[in-house]
Amino acid sequence: MANFYWTKDIDEARKEQQTLVELVKTKKSTFDSAHFNFGLAIGTSYEENTKTAFAVCIMFDRRGKTIGDCIITKAEVDFPYVPGLLAFRVGSAICLALDQVTDKIDLLLFDGQGIAHPRGFGLASHIGVLFDKPSVGVTKKALFGNYTLPTKGIHHTDLRHPRTNVTIGYCVSTSNSHDPFFMSPGHRITLSESLEFIKMIAGDSYLPDPLRIVHVRANRLVREYWDKQKKTS
């Protein structure tokens, strides 16, 4: 199996996004909610000292209940933190994980942006296109788009493109006690399908449950890894 090439050049990375965005399909869905069996939640982190990217993935069912153990992969990547270019930092670690399980998965759920991105090509869209799988991106903060906060409880508001005012995602509240999160379709799923799906699996936390688990694990992993590196050196 061929490995994907990830450029280390920032300008080239933006150009790659500008080309690949042509392949994003959010009107032509292949997602079938009725036959959804398993999703894969994907969290990532990056250890700056050792230039190591981590991906933590866990499968979940249609109720958002996680199944089995986390798959953890890491890759050495020297790419700076640039908002909007997360895929070039953590993409290779994610692909290593997806190569192991992608055939069993109906949807990829990312701790990252979908089309709500300056070039319409966030992490969820990028990896979704590479594997041609339905994908959705969810984040705690909005990188791109205008919105008004939804009222607490189970509500959502539109996340709109700043220039065209077209809806590119949603700001979703799932409880009275947490701040809302932001979501947008990545690839092969429509806006409305992605919203329905997120509501189906979300729970009442600050992120949909499977994502919260991988998000926490990925951040813990990066700290543990650096502690271990310090001890051994």
Binding site: M1, A2, N3, F4, Y5, K15, E16, T19, L20, E22, L23, V129, L130, D132
Partner: protein, 205 residues
């Protein structure tokens, strides 16, 4: 005689489709470039400057074509309408001037003959191509995802220039060729059987 130039992006399934036409003489321009460059690996061609060998390859193509015409046998030229040069930029597989020369040399030999010239683009959905390239075990290089899209797009654009070059050759040859037919076809290789049938209808008319 049917003279066909069949091209498309690398991994589009061209070579697999052409296996069904093993009774027709086929020449692969990649092989000709590889021989001229004395390379062991085909993937190495696109990293270098293969343009210096275009003249040689065109001459070889003209010789092979002449031989086929003389023996009244159909010929398929298996090629890429667009190819990477210096490992980054895409350009036309053979410069239009060389295509014009090749066209002229073929047409001149068939002035009073029945000759069909086909330019056939094999294309695919970019997602399918990306998956095919990713799963291809024979590849020994990293896969640049945007190349799949660009390769398909440039092959589409440049394929039409192949036909234009041959039409220019026909125009400038200065002779009436009542037995000549030229056509452009696009075959989307999504379902192999369907694509094969489409190719049969073109190549075995």
């Amino acid at each position: 005689m049917i003279f066909s130039i069949i091209g498309g992006a690398s991994g589009v399934g061209k070579t697999s489709l052409l296996r069904s036409f093993s009774d027709i003489k086929q020449v692969n321009t990649g092989d000709l470039f590889q021989q001229s460059m004395s390379l062991e690996n085909r993937d190495e061609i696109r990293k270098g400057d293969w343009s210096v060998l275009e003249g040689d390859v065109t001459k070889k193509l003209a010789d092979i074509s002449s031989e086929s015409i003389r023996s009244k046998k159909d010929l398929i030229i298996d090629t890429h309408f667009a190819a990477k040069i210096y490992g980054s930029q895409y350009r036309i597989g053979l410069k239009e001037e060389y295509l014009y020369q090749l066209g002229k040399s073929i047409l001149k030999l068939c002035v009073n003959e029945m000759l069909t010239v086909n330019v056939i683009l094999i294309s695919a959905d970019p997602h399918s191509l990306l998956t095919r390239r990713r799963l291809d075990r024979s590849r020994n290089r990293e896969l640049v995802p945007s190349d799949c899209y660009r390769d398909l797009r440039y092959n589409d654009v440049y394929s039409r220039r192949y036909l234009t070059a041959f039409r220019r050759a026909e125009k400038n040859i200065g002779m009436n060729m009542p037995g000549l037919k030229m056509g452009y076809f696009s075959v989307e290789n999504e379902a192999f059987d369907l694509s094969e049938m489409q190719l049969i209808s073109i190549l075995r008319r």
